[in-house]
Structure formats: structure tokens, C-alpha cells
């Protein structure tokens, strides 16, 4: 089923692209401990992407493996939500995005453990242990930044105002999601919204960050229509495989 493949690509690409963005912090974080933390989280996400893209390749059944899917597709073939491809911005923006995304992944993995696709259920069971740590880490930081100094609060609020509109993409219903859910393969993202809000809103309140109004804006990365930042990200991520096809080390 084409939708099944699409769905797995979406969650695989989410992990891959967010992992790529977080890894850009390696060597640049505000403190050594945070450098280690962001790099470790990036590694977890890259590991999840490997499992998911390998599985997607099997579902597609055209002989593409994790490397071909990760490194040899063109921009329009990536199915990640736009949020994860946006530039890191400052530390507050990175942490806020990690928080919004980890809370989403956390709900997704919990629901996906009941998937009829045994591989997806197993990946979800494993990844959930990791997303809990990511969520806890980003939650601690977000409260500290939001309810911190005037400067950190202003930056956290600016990050929330900038990124909040992109979270609507997670939950708007679409045919791929519905087909996968109707076939009983796994859960549609749209049903996760109340659970995600229940996880996210209390933390934002604790961080003293007012939540922006929902607007009509809808990003569309999961349909392959990306922001202008995606091409630059791919140019860097794919450079090695494009320059030296099949390179190994």
C-alpha cells in the first residue's frame, strides 16, 4: 500500500531532518554539557531514522536501502514536516522546537506501539524510551528560559511565536493518514492533537509563555512542498554520497 510507505517515510524523514539540524550544534552549544546533550539527541534521532527508512525501503520493495532513501532523494521526495527543517535560530528556538517535536513524537510512539505493522510497533517501543528523555530535557530548559531573565523570556517567546504556526501541520487531516488509519495499520496523526496539547500547554504555562492564536497558515513539508531552507540542508547532508556515490568508511 503506497500510503503505508508514505506514512513511514514521513516519520523517518522527521527524525532524519531534525537529527541533522540538531547535529549542527555539535561544537557550538552554550555549554559542554549541552553540546553533549544535543549531539546525543541528534544521534538518537538519526538511529530512529535508520530503522524507519530501512523499513520504508522494504515496504516500497524497489531495492532502496536506508542510505539511498536518506541521501539520494531530491527535495520534493522528502516527507518531513516543515518545522524540523527550519534553521536552528538561537538556543531558545532550538530548545522550543525540540520540545514541540519531542512531545509529538512521544504521543506518536505511544500510540504506534499498538500498530498492526510489527516493525513499526517495535520501533515505537524502542523510540519511546528515547523521546521521553528528549522531552524531559527540553521541558527543563524551556521552563528555565521562559520563566528566566527578561532576555531569555523574550527569546523563548519569540521562538514560540515563530514556530507555533508550524505545529498545525502535524494534525491537519490528510488522505495518507486516513488511509493508513482506516486500514488499521497505525494511528492517524490528527487524533494525537488533544494528547499533544495536554502535554504541551501546561509546560508553556509554567514557562510563562502565552500561546499564539492559531492562524490559517499551513506548512506542507509532509507533502514534499518544503521551505526555502530545505535545499541548503540537503546540499550539506547529501554532499558526501553525491560526490562519492556508495562511499564507505
Amino acid at each position: 500500500m503506497q500510503e503505508h510507505f508514505e506514512y513511514v517515510l514521513r516519520i523517518g524523514d522527521n527524525a532524519l531532518i531534525h537529527g541533522q539540524r540538531l547535529s549542527e550544534w555539535c561544537g557550538h552549544a552554550p555549554a559542554l554539557e549541552e553540546d553533549l546533550a544535543l549531539a546525543n539527541i541528534a544521534l538518537d534521532l538519526t538511529g530512529q531514522a535508520r530503522l524507519l527508512l530501512t523499513h520504508a525501503g522494504r515496504l516500497e520493495n524497489k531495492g532502496r536501502d536506508e542510505d539511498q532513501l536518506a541521501f539520494l532523494r531530491d527535495e520534493g521526495e522528502y516527507r518531513n514536516v516543515t518545522l524540523v527543517e527550519l534553521p536552528n535560530g538561537d538556543f531558545a528556538q532550538t530548545i522550543l522546537r525540540l520540545f514541540l517535536f519531542a512531545a509529538f513524537q512521544n504521543e506518536l510512539w505511544q500510540a504506534m506501539q499498538a500498530s498492526k505493522d510489527d516493525s513499526l510497533a517495535a520501533i515505537a517501543e524502542k523510540s519511546l524510551k528515547e523521546s521521553r528523555y528528549h522531552l524531559r530535557h527540553s521541558t527543563d530548559w524551556l521552563v528555565r528560559l521562559g520563566d528566566g531573565t527578561e532576555e531569555s523570556h523574550a527569546r523563548a517567546q519569540a521562538a514560540l511565536d515563530a514556530l507555533w504556526p508550524y505545529t498545525a501541520e502535524f494534525f491537519s487531516a490528510d488522505p495518507t493518514d486516513e488511509a493508513v488509519a482506516a486500514a488499521g495499520v497505525t494511528v492517524a496523526w490528527s487524533v494525537l492533537e488533544p494528547r499533544w496539547q495536554a502535554a504541551v500547554l501546561p509546560v508553556l504555562r509554567e514557562a510563562t509563555l502565552p500561546i499564539p492564536e492559531r492562524s490559517a497558515f499551513r506548512s506542507s513539508g509532509r507533502f514534499g512542498r518544503h521551505s526555502e531552507h530545505m535545499g541548503y540542508l540537503l546540499a550539506e547532508m547529501q554532499y558526501m554520497q553525491r560526490a562519492y556515490p556508495g562511499a564507505q568508511w
Binding site: 537529527g19 554539557e33 549541552e34 553533549l36 546533550a37 549531539a39 546525543n40 539527541i41 541528534a42 544521534l43 538518537d44 534521532l45 538519526t46 538511529g47 530512529q48 535508520r50 530503522l51 510489527d118 516493525s119 510497533a121 517495535a122 520501533i123 517501543e125 524502542k126 523510540s127 519511546l128 524510551k129 528515547e130 521521553r132 528523555y133 522531552l135 524531559r136 530535557h137 521541558t139 527543563d140 502535554a199 509546560v203
Partner: protein, 163 residues
Amino acid sequence: MVSMLTEAKAWEVLAQVPDPEIPVISVTELGIVREVRVSNDAITVILTPTYSGCPATEVIEHSIRTALAEAGAQSVRLETRLSPAWTTDWIQPEGAEKLRRYGIVPPAPTGDMHVLRFQPPAPACPRCGEKHTERLSEFGSTACKALYRCPACREPFEYFKPI
């Protein structure tokens, strides 16, 4: 030629294969070897990886192949089993003791980890036993460890995170 290794012997060999990141404990003490099957033509080792992104995974697979081949295995097959997911509860008691002697506090039992803001009680310092230690970072030199500091002996130490 048929494989000369018995299942029991294969486990003994695996018990000598160190974890590349924490070489004081073996892959069996770490609890990632879930099953060993011996058939006429091959030894199959079933592994459950620790963290999805653990960079040691490939090294571990390579070490296992090499060790079993050196012990006389003709053909080694490695399979990955994701479910049930690896948990630090699978670390063998001897492994936990070796971690402690190495200066890494072994993980507490996982129990209920579902609470968002759950802060595990700080582990006691592995050097001086001081109970009131402070966490520097939930992520240490590897994905599986957190970084702590002991205010009594002023030494930093690592804690194997329960997952």
C-alpha cells in the same frame, strides 16, 4: 564442515567480548545478547541494540563475528531484535558491579518512567559514597550515561541512565 561450537561454548565466547564504549563489561553482561542458536551450518546470535543511535552497534557486531570465528565458528549470522526493547534492567548483576568499580554508577531499576518531570533520585558518589550529588547533564559522554558531580570529594562521575 559442521560448526565445532556448542551453544554453551558460544555464550562463553560472547562473555569475553567487551562493550567498545565501556570495555569493563561484556556484551552478555550488558544484556544485549538475547539468544544464541546453533545449527549445523551456522551460529545465529540475536542482538537487541541499546539506543537507536548508539555508534557502538557496528563495532559490537564486528567484534562478535571475529570472536566467534576465532573460536572456530564457520559461519556467524547476526540478527537484530527490536522488541521487547532493551532495558537497563537486563544488565547482569556482575556487570553492574563491574560498572561501579570502573567509576560508573549502575542504573537504578527502571520502575515507572512515565512522568514528564520525573527526576530520579541522585545516585550516590561511586568514589566516596556521598549521597547528595548533583546532576550536571542528563546526557554524558555516551547516550546511555548522565553526568554528575560529587560536592564532597569534588569529582565528576557518570551514571548509567535507567531506560
